[in-house]
């Protein structure tokens, strides 16, 4: 038998001996010769039924492949169905045009590259922007509905709206470099339930195409041919091990790993202590581990969506956010993913929001707790333990310019500039222990533009594809616009499905 030790260690026999310790390790593949027989088969087997998986399944089916979707839980939809359901699209979509906004694929690309930082995958972003109009048509063609209503709010609080500026497009310095356009597209929905609507549409489309979604199926290991080609998946259903053959390919779209504490501690320790681990219960890293088990490379494993939602209400953004030195480090009106990233990754998970009586939260708020209350800034700085004079220097400098409607240090928008001078002054704790950080993972399997999984030697693994948060896609830290994760999942999920369906078995 090949790879006896790895195979033995991760086999079912080890259940009692330390499964916990192994939850962060690759899941070794099963050799085809050790499969007693196939219990089921399809051309393309999709692991997971969120936005990535269902988009892959739809495109594979349209390419005439026989498709099967396997879902861990009894209800399909994955974390996408609990998300805001925003898709970042642009370049002049019919909705942008109908609402009077100009945009080009080039502007969209330039914003994503400028705001994305050094880890932004330029090749994927280029393709994503060039084909954004087609992707909009694809979503609408699959029953996703958008209303001709624009919202000017920073956060998706307007229930009837389908278009908004979902990132930092209107913030310094991007507003001066790239013409801002609203690119967050979302089905109109009350109380952040756009994801439910998005997935209801995509799942209904999959159903019309006759794609079976098998629920309560736990995918455990990939099955490989002797030449390394992926042959199928070993699953557990009602406690029984079964083997599903994939004649052309397996698409891993099983989400990220925010609910796998061992994996989180090992790969993304910054995200581990955050209070709001965000996502449905299937984000256990299974798809990533299965891919690693056949030698897949992983990218950006420590990256994450780290939202510190100070707003709404937008009025609190007239406050000043400071780090452990009592100094400002990011414009307070930045996209809340950028704020969260700054304090979590760059400031050691510590920070405070300083407000006066004019920009305080209207009442106790579950997102933050008060760390100090004082009649003047000197006393507030002392209570927070800053070096003498540090907070006063920050506030004096800020106030002097805010009175003129300017923020030369960080470029906060004029709408949120006002001197802090009305006592009492309060400091809210933005530390990771006390504040609400909603977080999920971005790291995952390396994939090509076609969704093929790449191994550690740089070769594609025949018959293996990945999408959504199982793959390392467009979303990279710092996250700079809502809708990039769902956008990436649907867009590259489609490609993975189409390419898998076309592979010669």
């Amino acid at each position: 038998m090949k790879q006896t030790r790895r195979g033995f260690l991760t086999g079912a026999g080890l259940a009692a001996a330390g499964v916990t310790a192994l939850r962060s390790t690759p899941t070794a593949a099963l050799d085809r010769r050790d499969v007693p027989g196939w219990d089921d088969e399809a051309d393309v087997v999709v692991v997971g039924s969120g936005a990535g998986g269902i988009s892959a399944a739809i495109e594979a089916r349209r390419a005439t492949a026989d498709v099967q979707v396997l879902e861990l839980f009894h209800i399909p939809g994955g974390s996408s169905s609990l998300s805001g359901g925003v898709c970042y699209m642009g370049g002049g979509t019919p909705l942008q045009k109908a609402l009077g906004f100009e945009d080009t694929p080039e502007d969209m690309y330039r914003y994503l590259i400028e705001a994305g930082g050094p880890y932004a995958p330029a090749d994927k972003i280029r393709l994503y922007c060039e084909e954004s109009l087609g992707h909009y048509d694809w979503l609408v063609g699959n029953g996703v509905e958008y209303a001709r209503v624009y919202s000017d709010e920073k956060e998706l609080a307007h229930h009837a709206a389908s278009l908004y500026h979902s990132g930092s497009e209107r913030n310094y310095p991007y507003r001066d470099r790239v013409r801002p356009a609203p690119r967050g597209h979302v089905p109109p929905a009350t109380n952040m339930m756009g994801g439910q609507r998005l997935m209801a549409s995509l799942l209904a489309s999959a159903e019309r195409l006759g794609i079976p979604v098998r629920t309560r199926v736990a995918c455990e290991r990939l099955v490989t041919e002797s030449d390394g080609t992926i042959a199928g998946v070993a699953v557990r259903e009602n406690g029984v091990r079964r083997h599903v053959r994939a004649r052309r390919g397996v698409v891993l779209a099983a989400g990220g790993f925010i609910h796998n504490p061992e994996m989180l501690k090992r790969h993304a320790p910054e995200l581990y202590p955050c209070s709001g681990h965000w996502g449905r219960a299937g984000d256990l890293g299974m798809g990533i581990r299965m891919g690693m088990g056949v030698g897949a490379n992983v990218l950006r494993m420590h990256h994450g969506f780290a939202v510190l939602p100070l707003y709404p209400p937008e009025n609190v953004l007239k406050g000043v956010a400071v780090n452990r030195l009592g100094q400002r480090c990011i414009a307070e009106d930045a996209y809340y993913g950028a704020i969260g990233h700054e304090f979590l990754y760059n400031q050691g998970g510590r920070g405070w929001l300083i407000v006066d009586a004019s920009c305080d939260y209207p009442g106790p708020d579950a997102r933050v707790v008060m760390a100090a209350l004082a009649g003047d800034i000197t006393a507030l700085g002392r209570a927070l333990g800053f070096a003498p004079g540090a907070l006063e220097a920050t506030i004096d400098y800020y106030n002097a310019h805010a009175r003129e409607g300017r923020d030369p240090l960080l470029g906060k928008s004029a709408a949120f500039l006002a001197p802090l001078e009305r006592p009492p002054f309060k400091a809210y704790d933005l530390g990771v222990e006390k504040a609400f950080y909603s977080v999920h993972t971005f790291g995952g399997l390396e994939t090509t533009l076609a969704g093929e999984v790449v191994n550690v030697w740089g070769d594609t693994i025949p018959g293996l594809y990945a999408a959504g948060r199982t793959s390392a896609g467009i979303p990279a830290a710092p996250y700079h616009a809502s809708g990039l994760s769902i956008g990436d999942s649907t867009f590259f999920g489609r490609r993975a499905g189409a390419v898998a369906a076309a592979r010669k078995a």
């Binding site: 209800i75 109380n191 209070s275 299937g282 222990e433 909603s438």
Partner: protein, 128 residues
């Protein structure tokens, strides 16, 4: 059939839960505020916030399960369960959501730590 199995399992857990948690640790609502944060993917306890992906949790204790006005997402299992929410029952559910009501629409990882569950319950009790 699954409904029946789910309800039976629920009953067993209810009884077991009540016995096992007779000495539930005292909860700290401030710690519970942070324990509850992942639940905000779907639930808000604040009065007036209403239903999200999950029903509002304002005044959950003492309410009949599956009866929040305007919430359409309940499973048949929960609507038919007929029980009234108590801290003990919520504790049992959060300890092992897959066993308490396997067919519930709440797909959740669970909170294995007893103290954390007690903290969360103490937090929710503030919104009665």
């Amino acid at each position: 059939m699954r409904q029946g199995a789910g309800s039976a399992a629920a009953m067993v857990l209810v009884l077991a839960g009540i016995a096992a948690h007779a000495e539930r640790p005292t909860g700290d609502p401030e710690r519970g505020r942070q324990v509850f944060q992942p639940c905000r993917t779907c639930h808000y306890p604040e009065p007036g916030f209403g239903n999200y992906n999950g029903p509002s949790l304002t005044g959950i204790f003492g309410r009949k399960a599956g009866t929040r006005e305007g919430f359409a997402g309940y499973s048949k299992a929960l609507k038919d369960s007929g029980f009234v929410w108590t801290p003990e029952l919520l504790d049992a559910w959060l300890a092992s959501p897959g066993e308490f009501l396997a067919d519930s629409t709440m797909i959740f990882v669970g909170i294995p730590d007893r103290q954390a569950r007690a903290d969360l319950i103490a937090y929710l009790q503030q919104f009665d």
